[in-house]
């Protein structure tokens, strides 16, 4: 990695500094390299520990842990399909809600906002990221869930007649996939918005001026000159938000209803992988149960890894397109 340019740098250093500083530099280099290596080593060690713990479940249950919907601890059946489904659906729902809002906020702040308003709004949006997730969960239980049950759900189902579709049908209990998606959207929003805002602000002034000079309206300028330039950064922000949504545990557990069933309706309660682990880990006594929970953790690990890989690929694709 650093091996190739190293000789050139050292000769430069020798010319510029006295001997002691060179030793200082060397120590500095070793310390920072060690810091950089500890993190990957930690990730690998965690992965090994999780997969080793999960191995008995994988070898005994095979693929059924991913495909089966039957999670019955007493019968020794561990099918996590509803939890995997719930994690993916609630996170997707969160992105659908959060992305337009977050990008809207970012565009407003970078393009339209008067300067005096930019700081306070940006600060408040960023503050959303600092709220502990259990606080979101409490807010979910006491404010969001009753609001959904008494106002939003009946409105969607009966007034807008969306109850005819499978996605908004069934009784409105409150705790539901919809509640989880909304909570996650609020939690993911500041990440997407903060990254998008920064990349939009980093778009060179000349880019904007060129578009305006060609006779573009303000909206055309943003659409054709600013957003394409910032696209890869915005996608990176969305993926960061998705990462947050996939792993979130506490707030989701408090509002999703914890029911291991796959349902098309967003009004129905659901389950997520992180909630499943958090709920059952402390009282898991049988070895297979414990191993199955670690296996769910391993699957979540892999899903997060795939999401990150896809994000990298997307960012790379987008930036390559722009370069061409």
């Amino acid at each position: 990695m650093t091996a190739v340019p190293a000789p050139a740098v050292t000769t430069d250093r020798r010319r510029l500094h006295v001997h002691e500083t060179a030793i200082g530099d060397r120590i500095y280099e070793i310390v920072t390299t060690a810091c950089a290596l500890v993190i990957p080593a930690l990730v690998i060690a965690i992965a090994i520990a999780v997969f080793a713990g999960a191995w008995p479940a994988f070898s005994k249950l095979g693929l059924s842990i991913v495909t089966s919907s039957d999670w019955d601890v007493r019968a020794g059946k561990f099918g996590a399909a509803p939890a995997i489904f719930g994690t993916l659906v609630s996170s997707a729902l969160a992105l659908v809600i959060a992305t337009p809002l977050a990008i809207g906020v970012a565009i407003f702040l970078s393009e339209f906002s008067p300067t005096w308003l930019r700081q306070p709004i940006g600060f408040l949006v960023d503050l959303l990221a600092a709220v502990p997730s259990v606080v979101y969960g409490l807010w979910g239980i006491f404010v969001l869930v009753p609001l959904l049950r008494e106002q939003v759900m009946p409105f969607l189902r009966d007034r807008l007649h969306l109850g005819a579709t499978p996605f908004f049908s069934g009784p409105a209990y409150g705790p539901s996939m919809l509640a989880a998606g909304i909570i996650l959207a609020i939690m993911a929003l500041p990440y997407i918005s903060a990254v998008s805002r920064e990349v939009l602000m980093a778009v060179p002034r000349s880019q904007r001026e060129a578009a305006l000079a060609l006779g573009a309206t303000r909206w055309e300028m943003i659409r054709d000159a600013v957003i394409p330039y910032a696209k890869s950064g915005i996608i990176g922000g969305i993926m960061l938000g998705l990462g947050r949504a996939l792993g979130e545990t506490m707030a989701v557990t408090m509002v999703i209803g914890n029911r291991a069933e796959i349902s098309a309706s967003l009004f129905a309660p659901g389950y997520t992988m992180a909630s499943l682990i958090a709920n059952e880990f402390s009282e898991a006594t049988s070895d297979l149960h414990l191993s199955a929970l670690l296996a769910v953790g391993a699957i979540l690990f892999v899903i997060t890894l795939i999401v990150n890989a896809v994000a990298r690929w997307l960012v790379w694709q987008v930036s390559r397109d722009r370069a061409v």
Binding site: M1, A3, T33, A34, L37, V38, P40, A41, L42, I44, A45, A49, D70, W71, D72, V73, R74, A75, I141, F142, V145, P146, R149, P171, Y173, G174, P175, T253, M254, G257, N258, R259, P269, S275, A278, N279, E280, S282, E283, A284, T285
Partner: protein, 357 residues
């Protein structure tokens, strides 16, 4: 490049070695340090009472006990591995779990009793709802789905029951509360035993899962038509409406500390002399017994490996059984029936230090 690879390898090896050693270093530090004398881990349910006991005992004798309320499962696992001096559980260990313990036989020392109550949200009710085990099983099993079902109405002829749907709320996290509740239904209702059964987490056919007593209580409180189960102590401290449950003697009983102790008394008299106290007191005989009751246990190895710690543990258990018990009712736990205490103390006396260093 080579150096980097080597460094990664060394770091990783160190990390692995550390991980492998973790448990042994943890236990050796706890035994050598002077600040904590005994460590325990396990059930969350008796934690408020235990922490009060430990606090008073430390003031009285200077013996400090560190208890981590990480859940019964974790307590059993840590005791089996020998990383704590004692464990605590809301459900008795199974034979398979006992067989896995690394340091010989484990004793179950009952400390206090807890109960599980049924709470509901029906605004139109003025008196407590009367329920039989069969009706409870049918509600939580999804066979009764409306509040004005004839099976509920016939038990409560004077109550004005709504025609709304019943929303069942159960625990989503593995818990001793669920164990006691499903153990009761398995004992009192044969059809429940064959289908859903008992456990710290079971496969509920209907309803929503909420985390913790506070989660269940919160969901029930918020949702008209909801029904759920929580610990007696939690329900009393939060003044939740609770149902009267028909006991084995045919009487409808509302849970209370005396009714819970009465349940244990009914069973205690029938215990054989050599009992291991892994007994269930659900659906107990006796006219005043509240049927959804259970012991909670402290778990300890019969053959202690460290005579100093072993002695401290035995002293504490004897103190708790003598002076700790009377404090239980103030925190809404049922004390052991008085006729049972000598038997439990006799069991504590069988703890020995023969193999100790």
């Amino acid at each position: 490049m080579k150096a980097v690879k080597l460094a990664v390898f060394v770091l990783f090896a160190v990390a692995c070695a550390k991980e492998g050693n973790n448990s042994s270093t943890a236990s050796s530090t706890s035994s050598s340090s002077g600040s904590v004398d005994l460590t325990g881990a396990g059930a969350t349910f008796p934690y408020p009472l235990y922490s009060k006991w430990f606090d008073e005992y430390a003031k009285l004798t200077g013996v400090k006990i560190n208890y981590q309320s990480i859940g019964s499962g974790g307590g059993i696992r840590q005791l089996s591995e020998g990383t704590v001096d004692f464990g605590a559980s809301d459900s008795p260990m199974s034979d398979a779990e006992l067989a896995k313990a690394k340091f010989g036989p484990i004793l179950h020392i009952p400390t206090v009793l807890g109960a599980v109550v049924i709470t509901y949200n029906i605004a139109s009710l003025s008196a407590p709802l009367d329920l039989t085990p069969q009706v409870i099983a049918d509600i939580f099993g999804g066979k009764i789905t409306k509040w004005n079902d004839a099976r509920i109405a016939s038990l409560n002829p004077t109550a004005s029951l709504p025609s709304s749907d019943i929303l069942v709320v159960h625990r989503s996290d593995g818990s001793g509360t669920t164990y006691i509740f499903t153990d009761y239904l398995s004992t009192a209702v044969p059809s429940w035993k064959g289908t859903i059964g008992n456990g710290k987490e079971v496969n509920w056919p209907v309803g929503l899962g909420a985390k913790g007593n506070e989660g269940v209580a919160g969901q029930v409180k918020q949702t008209p038509g909801a029904i759920g189960y929580v610990e007696l102590a939690y329900a009393k401290q939060n003044k939740l409406p609770i149902a009267a449950v028909k006991n084995k003697a045919g009487k409808f009983v509302i849970a209370s500390v005396p009714a819970v102790t009465a349940a244990a008394a009914g069973v205690a008299n029938t215990l054989p002399a050599n009992t291991d106290f892994r007994v269930s007191v659900v659906d107990a005989p006796g006219p005043d017994a509240y049927p959804i009751s259970s012991f909670t246990w402290i778990l300890a190895y019969q053959h202690q490996r460290d005579s100093v710690k072993g002695k401290k543990l035995v002293d504490f258990l004897n103190w708790a059984l003598t002076y700790g018990e009377p404090e239980a009712p103030s925190l809404d736990y049922g004390p052991l029936p008085s006729e049972m205490t000598p038997k439990v103390k006799a069991k504590v006396a069988t703890i020995d230090f023969a193999g100790a260093k």
